[in-house]
């Protein structure tokens, strides 16, 4: 749920509120790639997908364009997309919702929600339905850290998402057949309002860009009172509007410097233009996966770290469901990997994801209602 409530607009319709994106090779079959889009954080048992939203995965071929301090990706202009849509449930059995995945070739694979076998055809397998929240973090101590400007993580934290569920869309695909030659791809997911001219509601690539990295306003000396996230959400991840890039950069520079300051030393000195070394890579806000590398449990941002260090990467990058990505992010932001791994005190979700389709654990039992 790294992107949950990522701006005022996202709050209006929870079924369009993106909460996480994952991408990883199938553990025992690197010819197949998995992407997972989660929406509707803290979904109650009755939650279902909107019939007015396109849930979209976008893939572009990427390459390492520069390494060292100016590390950057090059991304092809052409792309491949998969659109998933849902019907209004009909009849008495409203637990099942009919879904449809449109492939880049225009074929449609239909399926029933919550059917763990998923729908299969045209090189894809697709599942959609309610699952256990795979993400875990302690929101209280993150907010406290920002407020007190000192690291507030406890040895044993409190998982804000413990026992909660999300709506997940899991897409497994034969990447060589459907995406073309790789091996590196840039991936984002989006929610769009259906219509003749679909309107982007949210987009998501890397975890915790809009919340942990962008939401705090107090450190930003340029736009101290600007809620920047709706604007950021509305942008094309592969083509940010030049007019607003300065505002995003200023916010990231300020907030990343704040995180870097928390251990009392500077691991990420700013360049002569005041830019944080991670800002450029993070503004390339897509997951990057190298399909030539086999599955690894911990791989988020490994390609990017290798690029910054001007060394070859060894993992597929992307993001696996069970990775403790908050610890990875805090370690990256706070000590740049130049010190011990930083833990927020939460090391596991309520249920681990499996290495078998549809990967995410079944939903947790309903809680006693709020009243």
């Amino acid at each position: 749920m790294s992107d949950h409530f990522s701006g005022p607009r996202a709050l209006a319709d929870p079924a369009a509120d993106l909460v996480d994106l994952f991408a990883f090779p199938v553990p025992d079959n690197p010819q197949r790639l998995i992407v997972v889009m989660d929406v509707f954080g803290k979904a109650g048992p009755g939650a279902i997908f909107s019939d007015a939203v396109i849930y979209r995965f976008r893939f572009r071929r990427a390459r390492i364009a520069a390494t060292g301090p100016g590390a950057a990706f090059g991304v092809d202009p052409d792309e491949v997309g998969f659109d998933i849509t849902f019907d209004v449930p009909s009849g008495d059995d409203t637990a099942f919702q009919r879904g449809h995945c449109r492939t880049p070739g225009g074929e449609t694979v239909s399926f029933s929600s919550n059917d763990e076998r998923g729908g299969t055809g045209w090189g894809v397998r697709v599942f959609a339905g309610q699952r256990s929240e795979p993400f875990f973090l302690d929101v209280h101590t993150i907010l406290e850290s920002a407020e007190t400007r000192r690291l507030a993580f406890k040895k044993v934290g409190s998982d804000t998402l413990y026992g909660t569920n999300v709506l997940s869309i899991v897409l497994e695909l034969e990447w060589a057949e459907l995406l073309g030659s790789g091996p590196i791809f840039a991936i984002v997911c989006e929610t769009l309002r259906t219509g003749p001219r679909p309107l982007r509601i949210e987009r998501l690539g890397r975890p915790e860009i809009k919340n942990v990295s962008m939401s705090f306003k107090t450190f930003d000396q340029v736009n101290r009172d600007l809620e920047i996230r709706d604007l950021y959400n509305s942008e094309d991840a592969f083509a940010l509007m030049p007019d607003y890039v300065g505002a995003y950069r200023a916010r990231l520079n300020a907030n990343l410097s704040f995180w870097d300051s928390l251990d009392g030393k500077t691991d990420w000195p700013l360049d002569e233009g005041g830019n944080h070394p991670l800002t450029r890579l993070l503004l390339a806000d897509f997951l990057v996966i190298d399909t030539s590398k086999p599955f690894q449990e911990t791989s988020y941002f490994e390609i990017e770290r290798a690029m910054l260090a001007a060394r070859p990467h060894f993992s597929p990058g992307g993001r696996w469901l069970n990775e403790d990505v908050m610890d990875s992010i805090f370690t990256l932001y706070i000590n740049g990997g130049n010190g011990p791994r930083i833990s927020d005190g939460i090391d596991a979700p309520i249920a681990w994801s499996s290495k078998v389709f549809p990967y995410l654990a079944p939903p947790n039992p309903p809680k006693v209602a709020a009243r």
């Binding site: 607009r9 929870p14 369009a16 803290k42 109650g44 007015a52 219509g195 809680k367 209602a369 709020a370």
Partner: protein, 355 residues
């Protein structure tokens, strides 16, 4: 109606319930973060407004009171309580909370947005208009223009309200039908009060099309249908509401329409049901239910003296044209010596359908 596709109203309501269930009991506890507790209060208030569920409003208020108790240095807590108090027409208390929120650092535009809503409730339309116009000028969005449209609708400026409504809908970028349904509902009520029954029927039908279980829209549509001579349609709309809702308004309307349809026994039963419930609610939330209860006792309730007492209370709480008109009607019905005092030249014309 909007041309773009929006979420089916049944899915939207189901997902609203799922949001409340998903937040779970933790969000109501003192250990939950303030944002989450505020979110839960908002969701109960929203569900209450769509389903016409007074229990949801009461729960929102209870949660807001507890939140202020636990977080009395947090602006968001006072903002949430101001909104909850507004639901029950506790306008003076809401304004006090907004002042505290402002002192605690709440953003001026957020406080002013809420202040405008309170001013609107109080009938202080000029003050509300100043704030709403400024917000729409600075950021002409669905929300700011919609709020301005609703203000004009309530103050009776139909032409302006309809124009702003169209402008607002044109800028809608979301997929939830709930805000669109609320706008249509407000316009429907405005048209009903102006006696433009066909246009009221159009907007209220649109609201119900957006969200089929939108109880207040169904209830008002039933009143319009009755005024248009479609008593059976009205009864069919009101019966399920009167049976399931904890708001006596539906039972009261049903009693009124059944009486006019000559179904005296049924009418008496629903009148009794509404009367008991109004008495309960007046004991708990006098400011919030004084106007509807006064109307009930003035009409099918058959107790003009009680109606006058409540209409006076309502007029003390908010000096809207509607409150003034209600007081005038009540004073006429009781042949009160004060009836001339309560003449309301500026009042919104009262149609037979309007309540």
């Amino acid at each position: 109606m909007i041309e773009a596709r929006i979420t089916d109203g049944r899915i939207a309501l189901r997902n609203l319930e799922a949001q409340i269930e998903g937040l779970g009991p933790e969000a109501a506890r003192a250990s939950a973060c303030v944002d989450e507790r505020v979110r839960l209060i908002d969701l109960f208030a929203l569900r209450g407004s769509i389903l016409g569920a007074i229990a949801d409003y009461e729960h929102a208020q209870e949660l807001a009171d507890r939140l202020v108790g636990d977080a009395n240095t947090t602006a968001a807590a006072f903002l949430a309580r101001a909104q909850a108090r507004e639901l029950f027409h506790r306008f003076a208390d809401a304004l006090e909370d907004l002042e505290v929120a402002e002192r605690l650092g709440a953003a001026a535009d957020i406080v002013n947005h809420e202040r405008a809503a309170v001013f609107q409730g109080l009938g202080r339309y000029e003050e509300a208009l100043g704030i709403r116009q400024e917000a729409a000028r600075r950021s002409p969005s669905f929300n700011s223009l919609g709020a301005l449209a609703m203000l004009h609708a309530e103050s009776g400026d139909a032409e302006r309200a309809l124009h702003l409504h169209a402008e607002s809908v044109r800028r809608y970028g979301g997929v939830s039908p709930l805000p669109l349904a609320v706008l249509e509902f407000q316009l429907g009520v405005m048209c009903m009060r102006k006696g433009d029954l066909r246009r009221a029927q159009h907007h209220l039908t649109a609201a119900v099309r957006y969200v089929p279980s939108y109880a207040p829209a169904q209830g008002h549509l039933a009143e319009v249908e009755a005024e248009l001579g479609h008593a059976e349609t009205a009864v069919a709309l009101l019966y399920p509401l009167a049976t399931t809702s904890d708001d006596p308004d539906y039972a009261g309307q049903l009693a009124r329409i059944l009486r006019y349809a000559g179904r005296t026994e049924d009418s008496r039963r629903w009148r009794q049901h509404a009367a008991e419930r109004y008495d309960e609610l007046i004991a708990r939330h006098p400011e919030a239910f004084a106007d509807h209860a006064a109307e009930f006792w003035l009409g099918v309730g058959g107790d003009p003296d009680k109606a006058l007492r409540l209409a006076k209370l309502n007029f003390e709480v908010r000096r809207t044209p509607r409150a003034c008109e209600l007081l005038h009607q009540a004073s006429l019905a009781t042949n009160s010596r004060e009836r001339n005092f309560y003449q309301c030249p500026a009042a919104v014309p009262r149609s037979g359908a309007a309540r």
